[in-house]
């Protein structure tokens, strides 16, 4: 029953996010970033935090851009490495698959701020265990290339990964690409 409720929520998000896309400047998006992943445990550990490397890729399939804002529903994939070995333990690496919504506001022609929230399921790389988590990301994005059919941004995301037993802070750098299937201005 709980599972059906979750599927219904995901379906509602998909439908809601799709509504504006039908009425204006729809776009698809893809992004990739490389981040330093700092896992702060909620349990007693040998050190206050452990370091890993994270690679994030997103594919936005329902995006809409207004005059000075945009929003997109996207699937995201993370890959987080094992932490650096220290002492008697190390944090396990994992791969993640999730859904998120990103929104951004332009502060000038070239500079905007984005915020992203989502949830994901995470699969440990070495063992067959899975866990759920939530993640939030914010940061500046700089427009570095623009044509009528695409935009390319440089992004500097700062993220929080909320796991049950660890809260992870991330800082990284990446690229975001927006593809407009209909020439902007057309209806």
């Amino acid at each position: 029953m709980k599972g059906k409720r979750l599927y219904l929520i995901v379906l509602l998000i998909l439908v809601t996010a799709g509504l504006p896309a039908a009425s204006g400047e729809q776009y698809y998006a893809a992004s990739s970033s490389l981040s330093y992943y700092l896992g702060i445990p909620h349990f007693e550990d040998e050190i206050p935090a452990r370091s890993s490397l994270a690679v994030s890729t997103t594919v936005g399939f329902l995006g809409y851009q207004g005059s000075n804002w945009e929003t997109v529903l996207q699937a995201h994939i993370y890959s987080v490495s094992d932490s650096l070995p220290f002492g008697n333990y190390r944090a396990r690496g994992f791969n993640s698959l999730g859904l998120s919504i990103l929104a951004s506001w332009s502060l000038s022609d070239r500079f905007s701020l984005f915020i992203q929230g989502g949830s994901e399921v995470n699969f440990y790389k070495q063992i067959e265990e899975v866990f759920a988590s939530f993640s939030f990301k914010l940061g500046p994005q700089f427009l570095i290339a623009e044509e009528p059919t695409y935009q390319m941004h440089l992004i500097v995301p700062l993220s929080v990964h909320l796991r049950k037993e660890i809260t992870a802070l991330q800082a990284g750098i990446g690229i975001r690409y927006l593809l407009f299937p209909f020439k902007r201005g057309d209806t």
Partner: protein, 323 residues
């Protein structure tokens, strides 16, 4: 907003250097190795209710040797490594055999664990290996019997049955890191469920995964890790040269670089080590890749015996030896 952008990177930078300025703990205590192997060939009066497992004693002897040699390779002095073998081999079932302190009865196991619990410190490493039968469904272990006559009692209350609760209660008080390795059928039931993650070897749905996120259970770093030959199915033996081994144990021995002819480990870091580090996960990865039997059913493995090893889950991997 500017403050957030400034504070967050500063916080990350400060904590990022944890691995650099914290003194790394070095394990300097004693390594206790307890290896149990039971062939079940000594049932009284010609009974044969329990199938014979001729490879178990070889498992126990060679695993204890390989682990102690790896401990020495990792820097331990031979005087800081204590090996206890609890074995049952041959057909003898006299009281004199049962009284031998090296006989693999449940009482002797209990006494051995109590002795270790009395002396172990936080710097110690205790490894317990078991090769023998596991009861179908419950996974309970069957220690060597102590009956001079009559059929062997394997009922729930039998003095030879070891339940997960019984064993966990006697291992948990031991200070330091503990590793329990079980090569027996249905041994996956000994792996405690993680409070923070779910095994997808068993049938869990996405609602269970989110349910666990919001549950009240708290994760603790595991000082006691369980590593088993099978999940909820049988485990098997295979012929290995002139003797038998458990399928899981033979892969584990290979992971430790064991040479069956010379009875020595290979030079250098063992094959399962990653970046000069032997962790439970690196052993697990090696075994899944090199085990003689497939770890899961697929169209390509129809008709083959499937045996899936299991391991304690959660966020942290335990380092066994570093080289």
């Amino acid at each position: 907003m500017r403050r957030v952008f400034l504070l967050l990177p500063i916080l990350i930078l400060l904590m990022a250097s944890c691995e650099l300025y914290y003194e790394e703990p070095v394990q300097t205590g004693t390594v206790h190795i307890v290896s149990i192997g039971i062939t079940y060939e000594n049932e009284p009066d010609g009974h044969d209710y329990l199938g014979d497992l001729p490879g178990t004693v070889f498992d126990a002897r060679e695993l204890s040797d390989a682990l102690s040699q790896q401990a020495m390779r990792a820097g331990w002095d031979s005087t800081d490594i204590e090996v206890t073998l609890l074995l049952q081999e041959g057909t003898d079932h006299t009281q004199k055999t049962f009284d031998d302190l090296g006989y693999a009865s449940r009482n002797h196991l209990e006494n051995t664990l109590a002795t270790i619990a009395g002396v172990a410190t936080a710097d110690d490493l205790t490894i317990i290996t078991y090769s023998g039968h596991g009861i179908e469904g419950t996974g309970e272990l069957l220690m060597a019997h102590t009956q001079t006559s009559g059929p062997v009692d394997i009922s729930e209350d039998s003095p030879i049955v070891v339940t997960p609760e019984w064993l966990h209660a006697r291992i948990s008080p031991i200070k330091g890191k503990k590793l329990l390795i079980l090569d027996s059928c249905y041994s996956g039931v000994f792996v405690p469920e993680s409070p923070s993650s779910s095994s997808w070897v068993y049938d869990n749905g996405i609602d269970d995964w989110y349910g666990k996120y919001f549950s009240d259970e708290e994760y603790q770093i595991p000082s006691f890790v369980v590593f088993t030959a099978s999940a909820d199915s049988d485990s098997y033996e295979i012929q290995f040269g002139d003797h038998n081994h458990g399928v899981f144990t033979s892969a584990l021995l290979a992971a430790l670089g064991w040479n069956h002819t010379t009875k020595k480990i290979a030079n250098g870091a063992p094959p399962a080590a990653q970046n000069e580090l032997l962790s439970i996960d690196s052993l697990y990865k090696y075994i899944k890749k090199h085990q003689a039997f497939p770890v899961r059913w697929s169209l390509f493995t129809i008709g083959e015996n499937v045996q899936h090893p299991m391991i304690t889950g959660g966020a942290m991997d335990m380092v066994l030896f570093s080289y």
